[in-house]
């Protein structure tokens, strides 16, 4: 079974799953298929979805970035703080993005230059960046941003779609092209599959990894800002604990935690599946932990069942010969 086949198999599986969920939901709740609900369904966790895109690239590149949620928080807090200190909103947004890039550069330095395991570095980032966010806002909640900013996150721009949703789809296209069309994307797979071979082929491994982590942090910062725009006010605990949801979505998308395998179509499908599932359960008044149970189980089964199926098939093969 070649990688390609496996991925194909994976996407069909995810697609089937998605259809099943949608069918169930629309049977389960009369509100499910309403435009408003479909929009909400994206809107409610659009920031996670955005971050999942870059997380997919990072994991395909053979690394992991656990600091994304804290970077989201950090960016939001930097923005709120600078705004609170009297900076004009656009400047505040720029500074927030800059903060994200800085965090990314920090991760990149320790991972790509010093050569520490990304798990350790971004784990420290997970704690540290959140800490910086705390320093800035302490126990305050800062809101009262200009209307144009809030509408950015809350009002529909084109049709029923909000800015965040549009940005998600744009980024999805962008990253799909980068990953599957561009030279950089090719190198991401190469580095994820075999770092050494990449090095011996003159690939600037350090550069690729740095790009991944800076990109990841930048997009996380962007997501953080959008999150702030959606909620209209910022606190130190912004986006706390999102990292696990994001990683879950990516893995459910068929991306191998060992790097080198996976694609954005799979991730897109898994995002849709998760969002629909959560929304459907929400409408069925199933919340909190029960939702997590289902998603967790789904994550395991999505890999377990194909494996079992393969075992069975092999057994049959064994009998034939």
């Amino acid at each position: 079974m070649s990688v390609l086949d496996r991925l194909k198999g994976w996407e069909t599986m995810m697609l089937a799953l998605l259809c099943a969920i949608v069918a169930l939901n629309s049977l389960g709740s009369p509100y499910f298929l309403s435009v408003g609900n479909i929009v909400n369904l994206f809107q409610l966790s659009i920031e996670k979805s955005i971050v999942a895109l870059t997380m997919a690239l990072v994991i395909i590149g053979g690394e992991i970035d656990l600091s994304v949620a804290s970077v989201m928080g950090l960016a939001a807090c930097v923005m709120a703080w600078t705004f609170h200190e009297g900076a004009p909103m656009p400047l505040a947004v720029l500074l927030a993005l800059a903060a994200g890039v800085l965090a990314g550069l920090n991760n990149a330095f320790w991972i790509a230059r010093v050569g520490l395991p990304s798990l350790a570095v971004t784990l420290a980032g997970l704690i540290g960046y959140r800490g910086v966010a705390r320093i800035l806002l302490e126990d305050r909640a800062i809101g009262g941003f200009p209307d144009w900013f809030n509408t950015l996150g809350q009002q529909a721009l084109i049709g029923p779609l909000t800015a965040a949703i549009l940005i998600f789809f744009l980024l999805f296209l962008l990253f799909a092209i980068i990953l599957h069309g561009s030279a950089f994307g090719r190198l991401v797979y190469v580095v994820g599959s075999n770092v050494q071979a990449a090095r011996y082929s003159g690939v600037r491994v350090g550069l690729v990894k740095s790009a991944l982590f800076v990109g990841s942090a930048f997009v996380a910062a962007l997501a953080g800002i959008l999150y702030a725009a959606r909620l209209g006010s910022v606190r130190g605990d912004m986006a706390e604990g999102f990292e696990l949801d994001v990683v879950t979505a990516v893995l459910l998308g068929g991306v191998s935690i060992f790097g080198g395998k996976g694609n954005l179509v799979g991730v897109g499908l898994s995002l849709l599946a998760i969002l629909n599932l959560r929304n459907g359960m929400g409408l069925a008044d199933i919340t909190g932990n029960t939702q997590n149970d289902v998603i967790g189980g789904l994550l395991i089964l999505s890999v377990l069942i194909p494996n079992m199926w393969q075992d069975v098939r092999n057994k049959w093969k064994g009998r034939e010969t």
Partner: protein, 353 residues
């Protein structure tokens, strides 16, 4: 020196580097905080580290086999809560029986992880990311929002953290710490001297070879997860003992601290190398920082930032020191390593979480 070089290996004294860092940290804090060198400080760090350590020991075994168990936090909460409820409902229960139940409960949850990883061939991260959510979810759904409270627990249990196991003079050491110490010692020796335990290292070090040599890979991985679960169960019991009041949130996020301890402790996240002792030192390192920073008079809001930075520095300087050691032990090995399949770069950034 050459004699020493022949006897000892960088990999063996790598813990030394961490120890140096810890001592440095303690001296640093001691010079800033008056009355820092006291049994109270010691007990603070000791008992705050105890639970993390016990769980980290199990985690180490799993990581050695090139796997990871992210569900430990949920297992701790699960056992702490249900054993707590059990004891609350019949105070007469035999303490040892209670401990046994906790360990068994943890082991059972570990079995689930182990089976799916070993025989289902599902990556450990995927499995335990799932069970992390599921175990916690089941706990909350079954709990009915009740909280285990101290006054519902028998005195022997609530009193346990206060017991001083060394009645000599003002020397004051608490049971939880002793338990952790015992566990560490047992497993340190176990992983060094038990032939089946050496296989944790073997299969993590080179799975293909392990396959061809005919080691029972699945069994070993399974065992690692079960032991990890069991120790998490014990951790859960210690959690109950220490905090008395157990909400369904008990132990939430513990997995991150445990993984941090293991990583800081120099256990190679890609399997094969590292020791239980190292994991403990990692836990102590982080515990010392957590417990001491606050007393430096740093504002509540600065703690995390500083902590994150220090963890990063700990990992970095540890890596540097180890490299120095390796270099000291002769460049030849280094050179070949640097070119071989698992070179320095490969070792650290090869995609094998």
């Amino acid at each position: 020196m050459t004699w020493l070089k022949r006897r000892v290996r960088p990999e063996q004294i790598r813990e030394l580097s961490l120890l140096v860092l810890i001592v440095a940290a303690i001296v640093m804090f001691g010079s800033f905080i008056d009355g820092y060198y006291s049994f109270r400080t010691f007990n603070r760090i000791a008992s705050s580290v105890a639970i993390i350590t016990v769980v980290a020991v199990g985690q180490t075994l799993v990581v050695l086999t090139r796997n990871i168990d992210l569900s430990v936090g949920s297992i701790v909460g699960f056992t702490a809560y249900f054993v707590g409820t059990l004891i609350a409902n019949n105070n007469g229960i035999n303490p040892l029986l209670a401990v046994a139940i906790a360990i068994a409960m943890g082991a059972a949850l570990g079995v689930v992880n182990g089976v799916i990883v070993a025989w289902g061939r599902v990556p450990a991260v995927v499995v335990t990311l799932g069970t992390l959510a599921i175990y916690r979810g089941v706990l909350v759904d079954l709990s009915g929002a009740k909280t285990v409270t101290t006054d519902s627990l028998p005195d022997w249990l609530t009193g346990l953290p206060l017991v001083n196991v060394t009645p000599i003079g003002n020397l004051d050491i608490r049971p939880l710490f002793v338990v952790a110490l015992v566990i560490v010692v047992i497993f340190q020796f176990g992983t060094t001297y038990l032939s089946f335990a050496r296989r944790f290292y073997a299969i993590g070090s080179n799975p293909e070879a392990a396959q061809l040599v005919g080691l029972p890979m699945k069994g070993i991985v399974f065992l690692a997860f079960v032991i990890c679960g069991a120790l998490a169960g014990l951790g859960g019991f210690m959690f109950l003992v220490r905090f008395g009041n157990i909400t369904v949130e008990a132990g939430r996020g513990l997995e991150l601290s445990v993984v941090a301890a293991v990583v800081v402790g120099g256990v190679n996240i890609f399997g094969g190398s590292g020791t239980v002792l190292g994991a403990m030192l990692g836990a102590v390192m982080i515990g010392t920082l957590e417990q001491s920073l606050f007393r430096l008079g740093i504002s509540e809001f600065w703690l995390d930032a500083v902590l994150g930075l220090l963890i990063l520095l700990a990992v970095a300087s540890d890596a540097v020191i180890l490299q120095r050691l390796r270099a000291l032990w002769g460049g030849a090995d280094l050179k070949l390593v640097a070119r071989g399949a698992d070179s320095g770069a490969g070792e650290q950034s090869a995609p094998r979480p």
